[in-house]
Amino acid sequence: MSSVEPFRLQAASQRFSDLDHVPIGLAVLDSGLNVLYWNSSLEQWTGIDRQAASGTALSRLNPEWERPHYAQRMSLLFNGGPPVVFSPLLHPKIIPQPPGANRFFNAKATSVPDGEGGWWAFLSVEDVTVMSLRVEELRELQVRQDRLMREIHHRVKNNLNMISGLITLQKAQVRPGMETGPLDDLQSRIVAISEIHDVLYHSSTLSVDSTASYLETLARLLDTNLSLSGKHRLVLDLDPSIVLKTDTTILLGLVQAELMTNALKYGLSSNNDESITIRFARLGPGEYQYMLSHSGDRLPIDFDPTTSEGLGMVLLTAYAGQLDTTLGWERGDPTRFWLRFRE
């Protein structure tokens, strides 16, 4: 039995009949959430014809509307209040669907004058099934790709670690008194790249979550692998809030590998009070400084990174160039190297 007077149903039906064939679902509701008008798109999507819907409480057509928040939110509309939106993921049953149908709808309700000084609610429902399914497919695809990428990072890291292990074995074969320097240098570079793959493998977003954390792990690894005396201190002052792009972080890691290798091999003496200090800070919005300093003043008299033909310095100059900057340095005690760059 309809709780709406027939003349109201007729008036609503006449007033909104032009909206009968628009490709969105439209319903007009009174303040008791009874249906006054139900267009043909809604008939088609719900399987409920207009005659059955007209004058019936929406909650009888669709028990979902018995949930109290619907009436609570819609109540504002009957005082001419602001529009109400119902999103597809939070309201998968916003309109009744025939058995087996699983469509997504985006719905909005707005106030419309009832012609007698009061308000009705105008509920418009848009079928977003195709777009929603496409988004979910893309999301699933992305999850699969992320899983594969993670697997690749894991394998690359393992392979690089294996190469690093082979270099360690090779160094053990070097006869006493022979130079292991080139093998140390090579190993540092491999460790720097391997660590980035480890960071990416463990990151939930497959990107570097903290540049400082990567630089710290790398510094400690290089310190353990290359320390000759083990008597020096490693001081780290790295801003944990800085998150640079992965490519930039890799370049910084490679820079650190070169500078630390040099510091550990040539910069420090065997005194107990020697130290390596690494500072990484934000200078201003989008501007950063990386600095590595070590005790002692042991650079060769004719040292000049711009003309040096050593592979380490050639690489450092190239890395700095990729960061669109140059390598700064200062002779003294401590000896300092730095990069100021923007991202």
Partner: protein
């Protein structure tokens, strides 16, 4: 310039509004949701960026709705995009660790924003008897500059900034509710607040 008394009443009323919004969210989401507004401040368009304290280059998510009539302006609820993505993920329980919102998740944030904004705007307009016409809520993404570029800022001379804290289960995130007003209609709000009798 709004008086301290009015600002304090406004903060109280906005808190009542967001409290009602939280009740709706509680029943809708079946999560324990707490909303509060610990700070409300008056500012201008020129000082907005500084007052928000958000990085200009940061990706933001915004739900906005315009109003006309006794008050003329726009209300925006702004979150850093990764925060919004985290909140939506928790709400819909999809388990994805996303940093950005796709179309369907933008719709979820729009609904959450709609609930909060309606509760606040509804509380103010009902209490003061303001008759307003509203635009449909919209999602906007981008940097602060690109979001504000699309707003009709030339007509808006005064801004009220309400820091809004969402606590949903174990997640606590902070958004910014920005209420823009044209000067003549802002006077209506000021007068209503001045005349408001605390019971």
């Amino acid at each position: 310039m709004i008086t301290l008394r009015s600002l304090s009443i406004l903060q109280e009323l906005i808190n009542i509004g967001v409290g009602k919004g939280a009740q709706v969210l509680n029943t809708l989401l079946n999560h324990h949701v707490v909303l509060d507004v610990p700070e409300v401040a008056e500012t201008t368009v020129d000082q907005l960026v500084e007052a928000l304290g958000l990085d200009r280059t940061r990706a933001l998510s915004c739900v906005q709705m315009g109003y006309r009539g006794a008050l003329h302006g726009e209300v925006q609820l702004i979150f850093p995009e990764e925060t919004a993505a985290q909140m939506v993920s928790l709400i819909i329980g999809d388990g994805y660790a996303l940093e950005e919102l796709d179309f369907i998740r933008q719709a979820t944030l729009t609904e959450v924003g709609n609930i909060v904004i309606n509760a606040v705007v509804g509380t103010l307009s009902n209490l003061f008897g303001f008759h307003l016409q509203y635009t449909l809520p919209l999602y906007r993404g981008g940097t602060l500059e690109s979001i504000e570029d699309q707003a009709d800022l030339e007509a808006m001379q005064v801004i009220l900034l309400a820091k809004t804290r969402f606590t949903i289960q174990e997640l606590s995130v902070t958004g910014h509710m920005v209420l823009f007003f044209s000067m003549p209609t802002y006077r209506n709000l000021e007068e209503a607040l001045e005349g408001y009798v605390i019971r």
